[in-house]
């Protein structure tokens, strides 16, 4: 450790502050990160807003993506910022509605991969032995299969299948469009988080606080969830803010390949449409989708980096 690092660390982490409050204090100082955070929040809030309007069936101009607002293929103007599509619908509204699809997919994919990855990783790292071997075998197998092939395979196979939730009193649920996409992404992408958690748990398991907890007779579950998890939690957060981007982009590619949402606008579908429009000189639909994806990806990337820098000093990159 060089003198300089020591100085920086000393300067940044006065005693008595927790990892979190210190991290957030640092994060708040980064303007770019805060702007990015604001963008991410805006996307999220907008998604929530669309859900609420749909739930209560309210109509707002901005969420009426299928309304005809002008002629076909109108170029961008002050009225329609991103012009209109082949049915005279506002491209801007379509792009905005696409937020919902993307965020929903990324959100559920994240939840699914967390729900699978974290407990498996923790169990493997904590119990080791046979449990570990099985779990490692499982994720090594999955990670040996090229990722994109695996997602495609899952999406293909899940499409049009029905899941029976009769036992839970929910009836059967047919997998269509967006559900297929996030299931496919979620079921294939837990490997990374599982590996990360397993490694961290192995590292922390030998630490004194865990030994201490063990010595006064805590149950394994309590040790894992009360003692170990809080110490690796920041890694999960960091990993996820960066993974969210790849989920969004995966959704775009799947939609593009015809495996995604089709009855509602999504960015992948918009790009697919634009593929044919572009040679005709109708560049706006392409641009709108690209800008929408670019903004959220950029914001998440910057925010994720900043989060990592702030919460995990070891990974700090100047």
């Amino acid at each position: 450790m060089s003198e300089r690092d020591r100085i920086i660390r000393k300067g940044a982490a006065p005693k008595g502050r927790s990892l979190w409050s210190d991290g957030f204090r640092r994060l708040r100082r980064r303007k770019l990160a805060m702007i990015s955070f604001a963008i991410v929040i805006t996307y999220m809030v907008f998604t929530g807003f669309i859900y609420v309007t749909e739930l209560f069936d309210c109509q707002f101009e901005l969420t009426k993506w299928d309304a005809k607002v002008g002629d076909e293929y109108e170029p961008p103007s002050s009225e329609n910022i991103f012009g209109t599509d082949f049915l005279g619908r506002s491209v801007l509204r379509k792009a905005l509605y696409g937020v919902k699809v993307s965020i929903t997919v990324a959100f559920w994919a994240s939840v699914i991969s967390l729900v699978i990855g974290v407990p498996l990783g923790a169990a493997a790292g904590y119990f080791r032995g046979f449990v570990d071997e099985i779990i490692v075998w499982l994720y090594t197998t999955l990670s040996s299969i090229p990722y994109i092939l695996l997602i495609l395979a899952f999406a293909l196979v899940l499409k049009g299948k029905a899941i029976s939730l009769e036992w839970a009193g929910l009836g059967t649920y047919e997998l269509a469009g967006i559900t297929t996409v996030y299931l496919a992404i979620g079921l294939t992408s837990w490997v990374g988080i599982c590996r990360l958690i397993r490694g961290e748990v192995i590292k922390h398991k030998e630490r004194e606080y865990v030994l201490a907890a063990k010595s006064y007779g805590c149950s394994s579950r309590r040790i894992i969830f009360r003692h170990l998890m809080p110490n690796v939690f920041h890694l999960i957060i960091i990993s996820f803010s960066l993974r969210f981007v790849s989920f969004i982009q995966a959704e775009v590619i799947l939609s593009f390949l015809g495996l995604g949402e089709k009855n509602y606008p999504s960015w992948g579908a918009m790009i697919d449409t634009a593929r044919l429009d572009l040679p005709k000189g109708y560049w706006w639909e392409m641009t709108a989708a690209t800008v929408a994806i670019f903004l959220i990806s950029l914001a998440l990337n910057i925010f994720g980096d900043a989060l990592r820098d702030s919460l995990d000093p070891k990974l700090r990159v100047q």
Binding site: S2, E3, R4, R6, I7, I8, K10, G11, A12, P14, R29, Q318
Partner: protein
């Protein structure tokens, strides 16, 4: 101060780090003077700026964020700070060499130790590869490594910490430098090995006639070895003296505190004294004298709290930065 017998003079050196959190003034207004063939010790608690001073002399301050903002370093009539990077490279490792604190990580793990020393020799001396290799074996023998023929082709991870520090020393002296900077050379080592390494340095100094700038936080090891001592506190030198005088009669309250915290043979104190409080951070230095919050004398003094004392010569060859230092009022 006469130039006669002086090898290196540092005048008013200031090195700052420009970080996101603000400017860290790691070294401020440091002046020192190293005599030929002598050992100069720079003492202070960790984080006080000793290592940065050493790196500044080598012009190895990591930049950004570090930057030498002022002062001069005169080495053989040349100001090192004004040399081109290329000329400076000719001096580094050749005229001035440095040993770092962490022998475990300071060697490149993927090259053999021989390879790394040969690199230094071939860089500065026109020697054939085979001649350089002979030199390396010679150097390793000099630093007391047994079986050097074998050891040259070993990798750092195959050696112990002490051995690695010896290799570092061998590398440093391989070009017979005029000044060897030893930056806490023994901190990371076992106590028994510490002494061996320090003795080795003494021995080499005698044999090669080089000057040593010994940087340490441990006043204890300095006592028998150093000719001159400078005490650093929070980026500034607070006291300079020759070794005997300093130990006999420390003038700065900080030096006094340091000495009191040393265990001494023959004096049976119930417990060692410590200096209360903590070392201030470079980003949050107190106003006035930086030592005043911990100072037994001046912590209530208005002047100490508001105005920083300059390093002043209070007796012949003795400089102190303290309002209360004896002789100042004289």
């Amino acid at each position: 101060m006469s130039n006669n017998g002086t090898l290196l003079t540092v005048k008013n050196l200031s090195t700052y780090f420009f970080t996101e959190e603000g400017i860290a003034r790691a070294v401020q207004d440091v002046s020192l003077c190293i005599k030929k063939g002598k050992t100069f010790a720079l003492v202070g608690e960790s984080g006080c700026g000793k290592s940065v001073t050493a790196l500044s002399i080598m012009r190895l301050v990591p930049s950004p964020p570090g930057e030498i903002v002022g002062g001069e370093i005169v080495f053989g009539n040349r100001n090192l700070l004004e040399l081109s990077e290329k000329r400076m490279r000719g001096i580094r490792g050749n005229k001035i060499a440095i040993i770092f604190q962490e022998p475990m990580t300071s060697l490149n793990p993927v090259y053999t130790v021989g390879n790394q020393i040969v690199e230094a020799i071939r860089l500065h001396q026109r020697k054939s590869t085979s001649a350089a290799w002979t030199d390396v074996v010679e150097m390793l023998r000099k630093v007391g490594i047994a079986d050097p023929q074998q050891r040259v082709s070993e990798y750092p991870h195959q050696m112990s910490g002490g051995m690695r520090q010896r290799v570092m020393i061998a590398m440093a002296i391989s070009c017979r430098p005029e000044l060897l900077i030893a930056d806490e050379p023994t901190t990371a080592l076992d106590v028994t090995i510490q002494a061996q390494i320090l003795d080795l340095l003494d021995e080499l100094q005698e044999r090669e006639g080089m000057s040593i700038l010994l940087i340490t936080h441990d006043l204890g090891i300095v006592a028998e070895r150093a000719d001159d001592i400078a005490v650093m506190y929070a980026s500034r030198i607070v006291e300079v003296a020759d070794a005997k005088q300093l130990f006999a009669e420390p003038l700065h309250p900080y030096t006094q505190g340091l000495l009191k915290s040393l265990p001494r043979l023959g004096i049976s104190a119930k417990r060692l004294q410590t200096i209360s409080g903590v070392v201030p951070e470079p980003l949050h230095f107190p106003t006035g004298c930086k030592f005043h919050p911990r100072c037994p004398i001046g912590h209530d003094d208005k002047r100490c709290q508001s105005v920083e004392p300059k390093l002043r010569e209070v007796q012949l060859g003795r400089c102190v930065a303290c309002w209360y230092a004896r002789g100042y009022e004289k």
